[in-house]
Amino acid sequence: MDRLSRLFQEKQQDILNIYFTAGYPNLQDTETIIHSLEKSGVDLIEIGMPYSDPMADGPTIQESGDAALANGMTLEILFDQITAVRKKSDVPLIMMGYFNQMMQYGELRFLKKCKEVGVDGLILPDLPLEVYETEYKALFEEMGLHIIFLITPQTPDARIHKIDSLSSPFIYMVSNAAITGAKVGISDTQISYFERIQKMGLQNPRLIGFGISNYKTYRTACDYSSGAIIGSAFIKALKDAGNLEERIEDFVSSVKGTALHATNTTD
């Protein structure tokens, strides 16, 4: 069984998925970030491939992407870094990026390379479900790579069921109508959406992302799903001064509530 499937088989609750942009804050930080996240008890890591025009992302992630590109990050460099990471780590890794990046690398070549370096799955927000199903599904399956699709509060039920049949081993549940990093806190409207999805009896577990930034929002997300995805808040934490590994450990423990000051970080 692959790393990603195993995680979801072994753990159904409180899964913490952290996103970071590869090449930020520095070109060579990828290994340090992944190892520190793993050491801090993060279950799943989403590696952002920096992109010039990330239309589903907010300003925090876009700025980190611009900085990463200015640092010289490329897909080749990133694949080399992941190869190095895999010599020491078995943590599940997902790559997140835009379809044009995969297209320019060459779709087949890209998927082969992902498999070769030890990537477990992909999130490509602008690859439409229908295009995936007709053009790429067979290829992903042949390569043994997962693809994770998103649902939002506006996604119609029939479409959610279709997404459920194509996404694996989880569904990325966008918490609100928003780009990443746009909103803070979770509202009653969102709670009723979480409950609605919970009752749909989907085969895939869900991880809730967008607007999850701290202990409180992480706990709420865990109450209504198998866990949460944090991106922008983590990128912001990387901006702070000090030792990178310590900052990462502090951030993760504050989210998980294992730090002494956890009870104070409620906003």
């Binding site: 025009d53 589903a56 044009n100 995969m102 602008d126 439409p128 699709f149 506006q154 966008v174």
Partner: protein, 395 residues
């Protein structure tokens, strides 16, 4: 060969809707309804009435005698510069504001580069009493100040796009993000034949009024509907799409798409997408765009803000790819020269974008028998600041 969009939104291999799930409900609703709305008789009646009484259509087709004499041929100008707000952009915004009303949307967003589409959007929002938010690159806000003031006077809110290179591409990204954040009450009026399906087709159909009029106007003036050559500038490509639309199947008509070569095609400061572009995805559409090997989108350059876009609409990518249209690249200097020349020859100061189309006359072959139509897509008032700088050099 077909030049119409297929049900999935493709022209040949170009087009489609490569959008995040967050945009799916809005795009899908539009895709399902746009043709029914557009060809509904009440819609058409209102659209045609507004084009006539508010925009001032039909725009004249004018035989440019002195220009024709200079080039020893027969040159007609399709005078989109005489439309209300000074360019072809209003044809599309009138159509889309009627669409937005029928979709029940209360809030309108748009992107703008030079500000022409922003002004045309602010205008129709004022006309219909709808809230209007225009995203504009912070750099463009600086260099197109008069249009920013126009939009504000018309009641629109102009929001600076501070991400990336702070120009049209980034304004478009910001508008898309706004739409993601406002999935229920908002319609996005895209200004060109770009973006996810059905936008390229919808905008082309609204702009098609240009070639529809050309057919009967040419027939009146020359006794035949078809010219030998149509020349139009292409940024995203909406004025060209409108000028070519009813001639796409008439292969006896040569279609010339004129791009901005900026400081020179291979100078590193260019927007000549047909030469420099490769197949990829920009703003939800599979088309030709300027990008690195890694798929990062390259910032284009042209002195003309309206042609300063790193992609072209999927229809144009298809027309160029299948050789139905020929692409010509014109530098800043050639466009400026053409703008000053037209001003003195015909008493018409063209928009800098449209001046690129006139400069193409020096690049293509034609005979003294040919009938050539140049789509004069906009007037030059907005470019006066630029023209004044070059008055000593070209004037």
């Amino acid at each position: 060969m077909t030049y119409e969009v297929n049900p999935n939104g493709f022209y040949g291999e170009f087009g489609g809707a490569y959008i995040p799930e967050m945009l799916f409900p809005n795009i899908e609703e539009l895709r399902q309804k746009y043709l029914d709305f557009m060809y509904d008789s009440a819609f058409q009646k209102e659209f045609q009435q507004l084009l006539k009484d508010y925009v001032g259509r039909p725009s004249p087709l004018y035989l440019a005698k002195r220009l024709s004499k200079h080039y020893n041929t027969n040159i007609y100008l399709k005078r989109e510069d005489l439309n209300h707000t000074g360019a072809h952009k209003i044809n599309n915004t009138i159509g889309q504001i009627l669409m937005a009303q029928r979709l029940g949307k209360k809030r309108i967003i748009a992107e703008t580069g030079a500000g022409q589409h922003g002004v045309a959007t602010a205008t129709v929002c004022a006309l219909m009493g709808l809230e209007c938010i225009v995203y504009m690159g912070a750099v463009d806000i600086e260099r197109q100040a008069p249009n920013v003031s126009r939009m504000k006077m018309l009641g629109a809110k102009v929001v600076p796009a501070n991400s990336g290179s702070k120009t049209l591409k980034d304004a478009t990204n910001e508008a898309i993000r706004d739409w993601i954040n406002h999935p229920n009450d908002t319609h996005y009026i895209i200004g060109s034949v770009v973006g996810p399906h059905p936008y390229p087709d919808m905008v082309a159909r609204f702009q098609a009024v240009i070639s529809e009029e050309m057919k009967w106007q040419l027939n009146e003036q020359t006794g035949r509907e078809n010219p030998d050559i149509i020349i139009a500038c292409v940024g995203g490509g909406s004025n060209a799409a409108g000028a070519f639309y009813h001639y796409l199947k008439d292969t006896d008509v040569r279609l010339v798409a004129v791009e901005a070569a900026g400081m020179g095609i291979h100078s590193g400061e260019s927007a000549a997408t047909s030469v420099l572009g490769t197949k990829g995805i920009i703003h939800g559409s599979r088309t030709l765009l300027m990008q690195t090997e890694d798929g990062q989108i390259i910032e284009p350059y042209s002195l003309s803000a309206g042609l300063d876009y790193p992609g072209i609409g999927p229809l144009h990518a298809h027309l160029i790819d299948t050789k139905r249209a020929e692409a010509v690249s014109i530098t800043d200097a050639e466009a400026l020269e053409a703008a000053f020349f037209l001003s003195k020859q015909e008493g018409i100061i063209p928009a800098l974008e449209s001046a690129h189309a006139f400069a193409a006359l020096d690049k293509i072959k034609f005979s003294n028998q040919d009938v050539i139509v140049i789509n004069l897509s906009g007037r030059g008032d907005k470019d006066l600041g630029t023209y004044i700088k070059y008055l000593d050099q070209y004037g």
